[in-house]
Amino acid sequence: MIVRHITALLKGLSITLKEFFSRKSTQQYPEEKRQPYAAYRGIHYFRPGENGEERCVACGLCAAVCPNHCIFIEAAESEDELKHPERQYAEIYSIMLERCLFCGYCEEACPKQAIALSRRYDMAVNTRNQMIYTKDKLLAEGLELDEESVGGEIKKTGRRSLWGA
């Protein structure tokens, strides 16, 4: 009877002891940050254009496809050909992140590969207002992220894609 209790205790302690010397699985967040998987969908950002232009042309497909209606766009016409080569641009672009379910449809629908979802997940803020990601914020976010995280390769088929060049 007693022996049985002692073996059980030793068994338990052996695990404790083993874990004591094995590699730690906890992380010192926020000093240390977890690297999510490649397909992880986190906070949105605007991919910068090749020549510094804005890719978004305010076509509204992201807002149209968004299941939670959290994207608001107001289009306008621009005179600045360098910044907005297609003249139409988003005067107001905002995402209400607290409503977003990170489905990534906006990224999929975007014909200009302007919006994308990064692997950033740390979005805790103090006020609701800070959860509204405006165009400036999205653009700044895009410049901060390195090229590696810029995804969305265009698929190439045998027949010429009508949407290609």
């Binding site: 042309v57 107001e74 297609e86 014909p111 949407w163």
Partner: protein
């Protein structure tokens, strides 16, 4: 004729096309270049169908259906052909859908999706053609064009303008103007509306909103009396990703039998006033000398107290009301009730419909109602007579009807006017008559017809015959020829044509600013219509185009002195359950005189600015400042509102529920699509608030309840069942009344004024696109006069009358009669009203003598 389409049997009239048969059978045939308003074109080949027994494929839009045809629409072979056609179109199409305005409402996009064209076997360079932006209002992006030719054909076949055409050949082909000059046309927007892709875009709408985010509501146009149904595209923040509700654009309604899918520049580009920065956003109440922002309860109290005080001090006859002809039926009814019951004053008038009123009075005496044919009658007619009225400018969509009847319907168009306009070019006989002689012309034609009716014994039961006969006895052909300036031969020819025609139709407008038309014009027109009715055994064949969106409704609702809703005072007293003050006979002219004489001390103005919109504008401006108490309800700040003691901000038609009655009595209802701006409130709610303060029962929880009460007086008004032109009646003696002011001496030109394509009422001036198009009046002058004054096209000229002056750009019209200048009314900052004399109580045409000089 019977035929089988996709195994559905259908019976149609001979002459119909396979496409029309398919439509009737409910079979969908894809088309890109087809438009029911246009002649068959057959360029896109999307509507190819297989017909049993024919080796060739046939285009459904241009092939007449034959008896016993067996047609297939959706075979694999046809679908493969359609796929290939689309692939070929997409070789050059830029596929810039993300920035294209048509995206979401694009026929090419829809079909590409429908036929699953995701890739193509053909490749070539995409077109890279610069966008043509040099025209006002309309932008042409020819890279997107698929050459369906609809815009070019609409411009020619529907509008008769031919502003755009094809240029270049093959791959270089494009749609443009001659020599690439900026478009200078009517800017009716029909080309933009008909474009199946985004090749033609409207500048005010471009790059602003996506069609798939917009909600649609069928409404009525708020400008002229044609009453075209419009589709409003607006954003609804609750449904789509918009931060605010806004009216983004208007489109024609192709289901509307009146318009058949066309509209005009005012309808297409005139909606911007809804969101104009000049709108009144809050009530104002005068404290001391300054107007101060206020809230509704205080403003309504101030308005009610002020009116009541004047009424108790000077009697209720010292309080009067003026209502705009763009007020809805419901508002007019409420104002009429508020004035008559609440204030006990019968002094209410709708002066912007001055012309209408003259006509109405003539018609009342003759026909016991306002007789006017519907738009369909224009198409059915075989002779159209238009006297000193240019419907293609004042009522562009009716103008389209007239043109179509004259060009394709086999109708003879007789155009008699002092001006050369678009109609002159399509008229079978274009008669240049002296200004103001239209009444004499019609009276003479009446005299000729009288003989003919008498010979056929059609005068039975006609009253006033003796007086009429003796009044026109001396009006011989020679005398008429001298008065009108056309030859005796032409006159007798005209009378014979009227006699010979099976379905003649008189096309008349009688607008407030038409200085050459007085009550004699209305009488002559009504007499002629009545005699024609007797001669042809039909309803009076006359289209009387009313000026504003609700000119007619305001009068129907009792918005003017001797008129009561339903026309019967006893009935009104029964329904309202009060003693209604009798008619005081207050015409706009008398109202003005009474204000000047200090007999009227308080005025309630609903929706108009007398200084810029009414005849004798300059006098009105001064008279308003003499009033003890002025309440102005308007959507914009005006000269009147600045002088007002209480300003009540109203809302535009896109923000309220209501109805407008068009020229033929069709009632068009509309619903709000955007929220009222700022603190502004719908007029009918404000009037109810005032009624409450005057202790008048206003138990209308919604407009439906109010309409119910109106229908008690006017049975079936809102379902369009009230129109009845009673047979029988009286002819009126014809007396030429002449003009209030004749040209002579220093002021040697007679100024004619009328409604232009781009400026009408106060709304157009606050619509950016329209104002940009006509920032200053275009002053028309005959070639001879221009040579004499050494003036040329585009010179800046000053038109000076005894009362005021305006500056405009000169346009030399060779065909105009000399001694006449034409100035469009309602141009902001250059109101023709300020130059015009006030009308007199005798109902004479005002006339206006002016001098023209070049500004250096």
């Amino acid at each position: 004729m019977k035929l089988t389409i996709e195994s559905k049997k259908v019976e149609i009239e001979p002459g119909a096309t396979i496409l029309q048969a398919a439509e009737k059978a409910g079979v969908y045939v894809p088309t890109l270049c087809h438009d029911k308003r246009l002649k068959a074109y057959g360029s896109c080949r999307m509507c190819l169908v297989e017909v049993a027994g024919s080796r060739k494929l046939l285009t459904a839009c241009s092939t007449p259906a034959a008896d016993g045809m067996v047609v297939s629409v959706n075979t694999e072979r046809l679908n493969e052909i359609r796929r290939r056609l689309l692939e070929l179109l997409l070789v050059h199409h830029p596929l810039d859908c993300p920035v294209c305005d048509a995206s979401g409402a694009c026929r090419l996009q829809d079909m590409t999706f429908e036929y699953g064209v995701t890739s193509g076997d053909f490749s070539d360079k995409r077109k890279d053609i610069p966008v043509v932006t040099n025209s006002p209002m309309i932008e042409r992006n020819m890279g997107r064009c698929i050459f369906c030719g609809k815009c070019v054909r609409v411009c020619d076949e529907v509008k008769g303008v031919r502003a755009i055409g094809y240029s270049g050949r093959g791959f270089e082909g494009s749609v443009g103007t001659a020599f690439g000059v900026p478009m200078d046309c009517e800017f009716c927007g029909n080309c933009v509306a008909s474009c199946p892709v985004g090749a033609l875009t409207s500048k005010p709408f471009k790059n602003k909103a996506r069609p798939f985010f917009l909600s649609e509501e069928t409404s009525v146009c708020s400008y002229c009396g044609t009453g075209c149904r419009l589709k409003l595209d607006y954003s609804d923040p609750e449904q789509h990703s918009f931060l605010q509700g806004k009216l983004w654009r208007t489109r024609p309604d192709d289901q509307d039998e009146l318009t058949a899918g066309s509209f005009c520049g005012r309808g297409a580009f005139g909606y911007e006033y809804v969101h104009s920065a000049d709108r009144l956003r809050s009530p104002y109440v005068k404290r001391g000398r300054k107007q101060e922002q206020s809230d509704w309860p205080r403003a309504l109290d101030a308005a009610a107290d002020g009116l009541r005080e004047v009424a108790s001090r000077y009697g209720s006859a010292a309080v009067a009301g003026i209502i705009s002809s763009q007020a809805t039926n419901e508002e007019s009814y409420l104002l009429s009730k508020l004035m008559r019951v609440g204030l006990g004053s019968g002094m209410i008038c709708a002066p912007a419909g001055l012309g209408e009123l003259a006509w109405r009075e003539a018609a009342f005496e003759i026909l016991a109602g306002l007789p006017t044919a519907a738009a369909g009658e224009i198409t059915a007619a075989d002779l159209l007579l238009t006297v000193e009225s240019d419907l293609s400018e004042s009522h562009p969509v009716l103008g389209i009807r007239v043109l179509q009847a004259a060009r394709y319907g086999g109708a003879r168009l007789i155009y008699a006017s002092a001006r050369e306009t678009k109609l002159s070019h399509y008229a079978a006989s274009d008669l240049r008559i002296k200004p103001g002689s239209g009444a004499v012309l019609m009276a003479y034609l009446g005299r000729c017809l009288l003989e003919k009716v008498k010979r056929r014994g059609g005068l039975k039961g006609l009253l006033g015959l003796g007086e009429f006969t003796s009044s026109v006895r001396k009006l011989t052909a020679g005398k008429t020829a001298r008065a009108t300036g056309i030859s005796v031969g032409e006159l007798t020819d005209l009378a014979d044509q009227l006699d010979a025609a099976k379905k003649p139709l008189l096309l008349i407008s009688h607008l407030a600013h038409e200085t050459q038309k007085g009550s004699d014009y209305a009488r002559a027109a009504a007499n002629l219509a009545y005699l024609l009715a007797r001669l042809k055994g039909c309803d009076p064949p006359v289209v009387f185009a009313s000026e504003f969106s609700n000119s007619r409704g305001v009068l129907d609702m009792g918005g003017d002195r001797s008129l009561y809703p339903g026309g019967n005072l006893e009935e009104v007293e029964k329904i309202w359950d009060v003693k209604v003050p009798g008619a005081t006979g207050l015409a706009a002219a008398e109202l003005l005189e009474k204000i000047e004489a200090g007999q009227i001390k308080a005025l309630y103005i609903a929706g108009l600015d007398p200084a810029t919109q009414l005849l004798g504008g300059a006098r009105w401006g001064k008279a308003l400042r003499k009033l003890d108490f002025l309440v102005v309800q308007d959507i914009f700040a005006t000269e009147a509102s600045r002088a007002a003691a209480v300003v009540l901000p109203g809302v535009s038609w896109a923000e309220k529920e209501g109805s407008y009655t068009n020229f033929s009595g069709r009632v068009g209802t509309f619903k709000p699509v955007v929220k009222p701006l700022g603190l502004a409130r719908t007029e009918w709610q404000v009037m109810m608030g005032l009624m409450e303060r005057f202790g008048v029962a206003a138990n209308y929880p919604d407009l439906a309840a109010l309409r119910c009460e109106i229908e008690k007086l006017l049975p079936g008004y809102f379902s369009g069942k009230t129109r009845n032109n009673k047979p029988g009646g009286t002819l009126m003696p014809f007396v030429t009344k002449g003009l209030v002011e004749k040209p002579g001496g220093k002021y040697r030109f007679l100024m004619l004024s009328g409604n232009s394509l781009f400026q009408l009422g106060s709304y157009s001036g606050h619509s950016a696109a329209l104002s940009e198009r006509m920032p200053r009046p275009v002053v028309e002058m005959s070639g001879r006069d221009a040579v004499r004054l050494k003036l040329a096209n585009d010179d800046l000229v000053e038109v000076v009358s005894r009362r005021g002056k305006l500056r405009g750009k000169l346009k030399v019209v060779e065909g105009n009669i000399s001694g006449v200048v034409y100035v469009p009314a309602y141009v902001p900052g250059a109101a023709a009203a300020a130059l015009l004399p006030a009308p007199d109580s005798k109902g004479r045409a005002v006339g206006c003598a002016v001098a023209v000089r070049k500004v250096r």
